[in-house]
Amino acid sequence: MAELPVESAGGPGGEHPPVLELRDISKGFPGVQALDHVSLTLRRGEVQALLGENGAGKSTLIKIITGVYRADEGSYRIDGKLVNIANPRQAFAQGIGVVHQERSLVPTFTAGENVLLERIVGQAFHVVDREQIHRDARPFMEMVGLTISPAHRVESLSPAQKQLIEIARALSLNTRILLLDEPTASISLNEADALLQTIRRLKAQGVSILYVTHKLEEVYQICDSVTVLRDGKNAAPTAPLGDLTRDQLIARMIGRSHSNAPLPGRAEAERKPVLEVAGLQSAHSPIPASFTLAKGEILGWYGLVGSGRTELARALIGADKPTGGTMRLGGRDVRVGSVAAALRRWRIGYVSENRQEEGLFLAHPIARNVAVTVWNRLRHAIGLLDVGGERKMADDYRASLGIRMTSPRQAVGNLSGGNQQKVSVAKWLAARPEILIIDEPTVGIDVGTKYELHQLIWNLAEEGMSIILISSDMPEIVRLADRILVFRSNRIVADLQNDRDYDAMSRAIMERIVGAKSKEEVSANG
């Protein structure tokens, strides 16, 4: 039977050193400083929330704790003693367990086998007694509140149950420090409640938990303390939850605007609607979505990663078949059956967020990447290609967008991220769409190119193109968008006019992201 030592449960313990303490952790990658002197203190039996926007550094910090990365500087202590974690195995050995958003299970094995997976597959030459495994797995499953039989195949469990299996597995490996990454992202409200109960139970048994989330209602339900990251730094040092008001928390999560001068004003122009969407649904975006887009408008879609924006965009351009709802373009009902149709018939373009896998032909040179959308225009008689025209088009965009390459024959895969993104955008500019959806255009791109792209988007709107800008970069969206739709958990929760006042807008958006006040919160803060 497995048992965890029952520690003195509850809040910050006095006598014991913190079970996990990170001080002045810094981590840099080429071109970006992901973490800059970040500190975090987790006490035994405590549940701590790790908050921050996308890009704040949460996932890098998690990777350092779990041994996937090594910090460039700073100290990492467990139970007060300095440790040197060089790889995930060593992290496991120290009692650190992590449950990510993507599942790490073997679907064709049983629940019990997944709980004790390391024991089963850790060695080749031993006999596996399935009944014994199931018996031994049961206590861990009970610890997380799973009452199903360990003999059930994992592939027939619900997402919430699968997640609990992973937590049970972490416990079976004597995890004392459990990291949970957005655990309620893809489970229902009921199951989220059950999960939070499980977390309370684990806490009572002495497990210390670091809980990454953006949902403040959950934070107020189970967390004792909170660390807020922003732009790779501590926005607030680890503090007991009661020390900060909700407003203060939100304020700390929001980054300051770097965007220097606002862009020159655009003509208000005719704002007649060019796209009207009502109740649009698809297999991947099942919650009906409704919104309008005006001509020459930049409509921002803000949300955290995984909030469903890309899925809705894919439904708009026909990459996923719409299963319900209507789309009206210029007043006419349309059905967009495929990306090819969106491009050619309805003049809608989509610059993919995943330029390497979906936006570019990495092995091909720039000409073939840029012209892919318009080859039918570069046609001589009898289907022959105007190769010279293709090359000229590429040269023109190379010049106008300032794409730096050693030669026109260079494979696009060898270009820097910023230049790759420019090629990806050029491809759609060539198609001259009326509506352009741009998905996370400046992720992983140097600052200079970022501002060039901002100016480009601004100019396109000025020339009459209607743009949907999908971004998780708050300053970027406040700088560019005329109106902002806020996405949370696959639905549009707000439609805000952008008054370009960064402090006010970012607060209004963040309020919508973190969710309504829970009753615990109201009673705690009055």
Partner: protein
């Protein structure tokens, strides 16, 4: 599928990977009954023996492919390894007068080595198993033909030949060998760490690696096992025929895939079913046998086999789609129950 399940509730019935073997078994029974009715000679002891010998060989070929499929790969050289082993064993016995038992052991070892070579090439070069085993199949077949110049070994020791036609109460000894192999494989994949490692690797390589599976080494072992089994199948067939033919294995490719897929082994890896493979082998054999019994031109056998494997591929695809669709519906059905609580 309406109310969301709380963690304590029992899971709903879903499409399970276990659907395959059951279906194949039912098909076998149905077909057997149909043939008994349609063709009276079907139900004779002689015909049963013919079927038994055919299954004895085919099932082991299918096991070889099954192992590789379960690990998430494929092996196009099973036939080539089978043929090469057959002629080497035959040659050892006939030309070098090696005792049959030793010759068989050498043959099995060679099969394992040939398979290991496949595995090493796949792991070290990073090339797909498809192209690697396509090339090695050519090499092994070439070695086979080069050694024999296309001529079979006819003069095998009597002890070996009689083992091939021996039967116990009507059941051929070779079939018992096959069943022993089946039991050993069943044990390996359900009770031994190595087998579980292979399945984990095939189902989710990343998770397996994180849990401690030595993925590269395991992959080589998988191919070695497949080579070993291919060799066994070649030796079984040689014993049955009483002649070590260089053409052994040339028509194994299709059946090596057909039997496992019909029997529920997933093309994508992570799951296998030994009873399913046997049922699949039995089904294929019955179809071929039936065509003969019904006096249909044997020329049509290949067409039927091709259509059957296409159907099996279709079933595999439907299974995969259904699981996908269920996972997606569930995720979103549950997300839907969270009402918007906007202040």
């Amino acid at each position: 599928m309406t109310a969301p399940a709380s963690p304590g509730a029992p899971p709903r019935a879903r499409v399970r990977s276990s659907g395959g073997p059951r279906g194949a078994g039912i098909a076998v029974v149905v077909l057997a009954v149909a043939l008994s009715v349609a063709a009276p000679q079907f139900l004779s002891v002689d015909n049963f023996q013919v079927i038994a010998y055919s299954v004895a060989n085919l099932a082991v070929v299918a096991f070889a492919q099954m192992v590789v499929l379960a690990a998430g790969g494929m092996d196009l050289s099973v036939g080539a390894i089978g043929g090469l082993t057959a002629v080497i064993v035959g040659g050892l016995m006939e030309v070098l007068h090696v005792p049959p038992l030793i010759a068989v052991l050498v043959g099995l070892a060679l099969g394992g080595v040939a398979g290991a070579i496949n595995g090493v090439l796949v792991v070290r070069t990073g090339l797909s198993a498809f192209i690697v085993t396509l090339a090695t199949a050519s090499v092994y077949t070439g070695l086979n033909l080069g050694i024999t110049s296309g001529k079979p070994f006819y003069y095998l020791p009597d002890s070996f030949k009689s083992a091939g036609s021996l039967d116990i109460a009507g059941v051929p000894v070779l079939l018992l060998v096959t069943l022993a192999i089946a039991v050993a494989l069943w044990f390996l994949f359900s009770r031994v760490g190595l087998g579980r490692q292979i399945l984990a690797m095939g189902a989710n390589q990343r998770a397996a690696e994180l849990a401690g599976v030595p993925v590269e080494r395991s992959r080589i072992v998988v191919h070695a096992i497949a080579g070993f089994l291919a060799a066994a199948a070649g030796i079984i067939l040689t014993a049955r025929l009483g002649v070590a033919q260089p053409t052994i294995g040339t028509d194994w490719l299709l059946s090596s895939f057909a039997a496992p897929i019909i029997g529920g082994t997933l093309l994508s890896g992570g799951y296998l079913s030994i009873p399913g493979v046997v049922a699949g082998a039995l089904l294929l054999t019955l179809v071929a046998n039936g065509l003969i019994q019904l006096n249909i031109d044997p020329y049509w056998t290949q067409l039927v086999s091709g259509l059957m494997i296409l159907a099996a591929g279709g079933i595999d695809r439907i299974r995969a789609l259904t699981v996908q669709r269920m996972e997606r519906t569930e995720r979103f059905a549950l997300a839907n129950t969270a009402p918007p609580k906007d202040g």
